[in-house]
Each structure stands twice: as structure tokens, then as C-alpha cells.
Symmetry: C2
Subunit: 300 residues, 2 copies
Amino acid sequence: MQKLYGGIEAGGTKFVCMVASSPEAVIEETRFPTTTPAETIQKAADFFRSTVQRGELKAIGIGSFGPVDLDPRSPTYGFITTTPKPGWAFADLCGGIHRELGVPIAFDTDVNAAAFGEHFWIEKNHGLDPFLYMTVGTGIGMGGLVNGKTLHGLIHPEAGHMFIPHDREADPFPGMCPYHGDCLEGLASGPALARRWGQPAETLADEHPAWDLEAEYLASALANLVLAFSPQRIVLGGGVPQHPGLLDLIRMKVRRHLNGYVKSDLVEKRIEELILAPALGSRAGVLGAIAMAVESNKEQ
Amino acid sequence: MQKLYGGIEAGGTKFVCMVASSPEAVIEETRFPTTTPAETIQKAADFFRSTVQRGELKAIGIGSFGPVDLDPRSPTYGFITTTPKPGWAFADLCGGIHRELGVPIAFDTDVNAAAFGEHFWIEKNHGLDPFLYMTVGTGIGMGGLVNGKTLHGLIHPEAGHMFIPHDREADPFPGMCPYHGDCLEGLASGPALARRWGQPAETLADEHPAWDLEAEYLASALANLVLAFSPQRIVLGGGVPQHPGLLDLIRMKVRRHLNGYVKSDLVEKRIEELILAPALGSRAGVLGAIAMAVESNKEQ
């Protein structure tokens, strides 16, 4: 029987579930709105059960919205923890899926899953490390692999909330992060763009000054990631960086910010190989979850 | 014969060399000014040879000023690379020591060595990870361990040059980093303190407003490191953070910056266990180099 793997991209608004053996061999895929934990877990489990005749489901990977508990020694391992999302605070997502389906579960953040997916399916054995993933959309999230494994630690990275230069004369918008005001997410998320300019980000014309400012903030943050991690790759996902021309503008500004200090051809001559869009596109998260399942099955 | 290990903290102004089997069993220690590569390497080699009767030198660890080449597959592995220091650009430090003494050499940056030393000798098997080390003195450097190994990658971390908020109305000092102006190092290194206030940092009185501003900048940078790495420990070394009261002020401001977003007791209740001074003091670098030698000998 064919070996199959399950992937769940557990988002605050929707769940994406997939059964596949690789990105080229997707057996089944579904998406549904995130309602209560019980109902949503049930729906996911029903989906995986419906594919039972297609092969043997070996493991499921879950990339989840957070914050999540990633410490295997913790009594709340696999839980979504202090989220403000009604009903989901301390929901046992990992345990819930495991109890329904009885297969091994690999669990991580949504952005670590996306990083893992790009690293696993696209980079294969090129060994690019550190390998980071930043997503810019409704929020700004970051994950990645360092020394071969995803970044965990105290909780998990939250570099979307980094503090960056903000010239209030040039940009009087105070930021809209409920915790930090003008942190990166407060200044540069999709909703921050919409609030600052009074129109949805996707309706801002190419020549609108919004994009130069957006590139400036994202370039400050990416320059900081280059300085902090010395990464060999940063994948920049999410809806906002897809705006035509923005990625090139960001690259140019990252190089200008670093100003010759990081002496690497990858910064100075080939920055399009250092900072790039996800090859897996909007499926990086769920295909990353599949990759986590494949990898966890190898380890056993 | 007793197993001995060598350590070199290779700085731009001085070299510290040590022979020891542990921090409690230091056999011999010396320090001398950094002159030309040939002369300096010779002096270090003579020192290690002079201890030959005290035991068997199994390996030498080197923690070096940078930038250095840490890629074992590179033809310039173990070299100091693009330093402006006269005579030292592309000096083969690792190879020079190896050719003189014929023992295995472990090589890393000075700050990675200091991180490794604190992690190895002080934390032992507590498994705190990521484990970061930031030093604030003439420059600002950062190193650390993530997933059990020191941070390498594109080159090595340079988080001392991170871009942080700078309110030019409150602090009109433009910064003094030759590459970035008002990056962290440009605003908060020892020389930046001296230039901004017109007197050496160590002569600034406790109640001088310099310290609150200094704490503000370092807290922005440390908050960014907490957000980016989710570390379980950050050791804050170098001369500047030793100013009485500064470390507590920094801790308070890091917590205030994060503002409840990172929900961990280590941030909210026990931040003195998250951010602390090096237990090995100013010997963290050279004792870290010794630890690297011990570890490399284990691996063989």
C-alpha cells in the first residue's frame, strides 16, 4: 500500500488539510473555516479518514497559528496556548488529532512548517543554513531552521514584532500593534498599510509612496535578520510581498542598509538568491506540514 | 600524563592564551599585544610549547576577532578575512597555529567562543537553547548556540549592527558606525558613549542621563534578540554593562518593550535568569576557547 502523509496548516481563520506523498503527488486537499476546536478537529479527522482507501497514512504534520507549546516535556505540549481567539486558548490541537486518528503527529508553528517545507522540498540537500521564512500578511511571522532543526527555545520566534527605526516625521502613523504600537508588524502588516493609507493594501497603485515605505520597513527587519542569524536564505512569503516590484525594492534596500558590512557575494551580488519568494507559494505551510510528517516517519 | 587544552582569545589589540583542563585548573595564562600575524602567532606558539612539561596538549581552541571564515569547505577556512587591521587581512590564524604545534584546532568567533564557554562550563547539561552572548565594549558583538551548535551561516552573526529605533529629537547624536551611522554599535558602544557625552564612558556618574539612554538602546536590541531567537538565556558581557545598576535597568526596559507579548515567566517574572552577566567574567572568551578544545577532543 502506498505510504501517505497528512498535513494541516492550522490558521486562525481557516484550516488547510492535505494528503500527499510529495508536492507532485497530492492525493486530496481541503480547506474549511476555523470554528470551535472540537468541530474543527473533527472536520480535519473526517477528511483524513475519507482518504483511507488511497494508501496507508503514516504520520500527520501540523503547522499551527500560535502561540503554541513546542516543549515535548511540557504537560501542554501540542496545545495552542494564550491566543485571544475565542475557544482556542489552551486547545489541545495535537492531542485532539492524535486521539482521532492514532498516527504519529509532528507539531510546529505555521511559519516553522513553511520554512521546513521550502527547505525540505525545494532546497533538498543543499544544506542552506540558517534558513529563515518570514510571512507578511494580516500579521508578520517568522520561523526557520538553524543547525538543521526548526527554531524553538523559550517559546518560538516572534520576529514579526521586532523594533525597527521609525521616522515619525516622515511617517506619522503611530503603528497599530496592540502590544508595541510601532513594531514591525504594527508598521508593515497588511492591516497597517490599509489603516495608514485609508484603503486596502491590494488597491494601492504601484506608484503609491506606500510601497517605498513598506520596502523600507521590511528591509530594516530583513537586514536585522541577516545581522542576527547570518542566514544563507530568507524566504519572504505572505500576500504583501507579492506586490509587483516590491521584492526587488526590498532587496535593494537591504543591500543599502547593510552598506558593504556583510562581505558576502550573496548580499552584494546575488541578493536575489538570499531573499526570495516561496517556491511552494501559498502552499508552503501545508506542504511543510507534509514534509514534517515525512521526516518524523523517517526518524522512527 | 595529564590531558591539557589550549585556548586563545585572539583580539584586535591583545591575545590571551591559556593552558588548562578546566576553569578551576588553569595551568598557565599569558597576554600580549597583537602585532603582526607572524610575530603574534609565534608568541602564542612559544607560550604553548613552554608548558609542554605540564601535561599533554590535546587540542587548541581559538576564539578570534573577525570577520573570520568558518566554512570548513572553504580554502580560507580559519583565516581572518576582510579586517581593516593592518597586516591581518586574510591572515591564516588557524593554519599558522596548527603548523607550529601540530595539534587539532577548533576555530570560531570570539563571541561564539564566549557563548560556548558559558554554556559548557556554567550551564553544563541544563540544555538552555538558544543560548546567546552579547558583548558591549569597544564594539558590540553577538554569538551563540542554537540547536546545540554555534551560529555560523553566511558568515557569522553581527547583531551588534542591528537597526533599532533612534529618536533623533531625544538623542541628536548621529551615531558613529562607519558603515551604518546609528545602528546599535554606532549608538551604544563604549566609544559612542564617550563621543556623545564628551567623556570616557567609565567616568560618567551613575545619575548621568547617559545610562538611561544606553539601557534603552541595549534593551531594544535585546528585545529584538528575544523576538528573533526566542532564547532561553542571553549573557551580556563586555565592559559597558558592568556599570552599576545598568543591567537591572536594561532588564526592566526589555520587559517593558515586550509588554506582555512573550508569555513566559522567564520574561515576566524571572528576567534576571534570562539576561545576566557572564559567570566567567572577562575570561569567558579564553575559557570558551578551552571548552571548544575539550569538545573537539571528545568528538575524535
